[in-house]
């Protein structure tokens, strides 16, 4: 299934990309699994998305926990903790 991934702020800069379309391999069905999938790319991906770093996620523009399910066509965003206001 195909999904869209967005990256913001320091994550976007570190990864050098703001968005990508991705054909998800079978078995990657949650936000947490997608993060692991991206970490497995190694290099900058492993650093930027590392488990000891605070990375937040949203599914279809709604804050989401790692257990949140992903389905075809979803827009998944990863970003650092927010600092507005």
């Amino acid at each position: 299934m195909k999904i869209k991934i967005l990256f913001f702020a320091s994550l976007r800069e570190q990864l050098g990309t703001a968005a990508e379309e991705l054909e998800l391999p079978g078995g990657v069905a949650t936000v947490g699994a997608l993060r692991e999938h991206l970490i497995a790319r190694g290099g900058t991906w492993a650093n930027a998305m590392a488990k000891n770093r605070a990375v937040r996620a949203a599914v279809n523009q709604d804050m989401a926990q790692p257990a949140a399910a992903i389905k075809a066509g979803d827009e998944i965003a990863f970003f650092p903790p927010v600092t507005g206001g």
């Binding site: 913001f8 650092p80 903790p81 927010v82 206001g85």
Partner: protein, 141 residues
């Protein structure tokens, strides 16, 4: 209820006047957040930002009597002393207006997808999230 995410500055007086018209409104509480002594750029997540703020306003309406409300948050490049954000809440009485205004700001700080990048002497740096902001939002639970 009005939520706006915009580059342009806003006029607090005009925004307060716009939600003060009804004779049943007895109190309007407002807050303005300003840039301190550093230039910055504010990034946000278009689409999610507006809906996240709208959800926070809805939650406030479920807790207090909110007769009208305006939230404006700017993005893009901002200079020291410029206005960043405003919240104004109209209610029959001050208690609800004060509480809802503070609640909306506390939740906005931890739930609305904005990120500040400051231009410091050593170069530009992303602002780290503060534990104090999480604690401020937690106390409303």
């Amino acid at each position: 209820m009005k939520v706006s995410v915009q580059r342009e500055d806003f006029d607090l007086g005009a925004e307060v006047a716009a939600i003060s018209g009804k004779s049943t409104i007895g109190a309007v509480a407002s807050f303005v957040g300003l840039v301190r002594d550093v230039r910055m750029t504010l990034e946000h997540y278009p689409g999610m930002t507006e809906s996240a703020i709208a959800k926070i306003v809805e939650e406030a309406r479920g807790r207090w009597q909110v007769m009208d409300c305006t939230v404006i948050h700017r993005h893009g490049a901002l200079e020291p002393n410029e206005q960043i954000v405003m919240v104004a809440v109209a209610s029959a009485h001050r208690g609800d207006a004060f509480a809802a205004c503070e609640f909306i700001m506390d939740y906005l700080k931890t739930r609305a997808p904005f990120w500040k990048k400051e231009e410091r002497a050593g170069g530009a740096a992303w602002v780290e999230a503060r534990a104090a902001d999480d604690e401020a939002a937690e106390r409303w639970k």
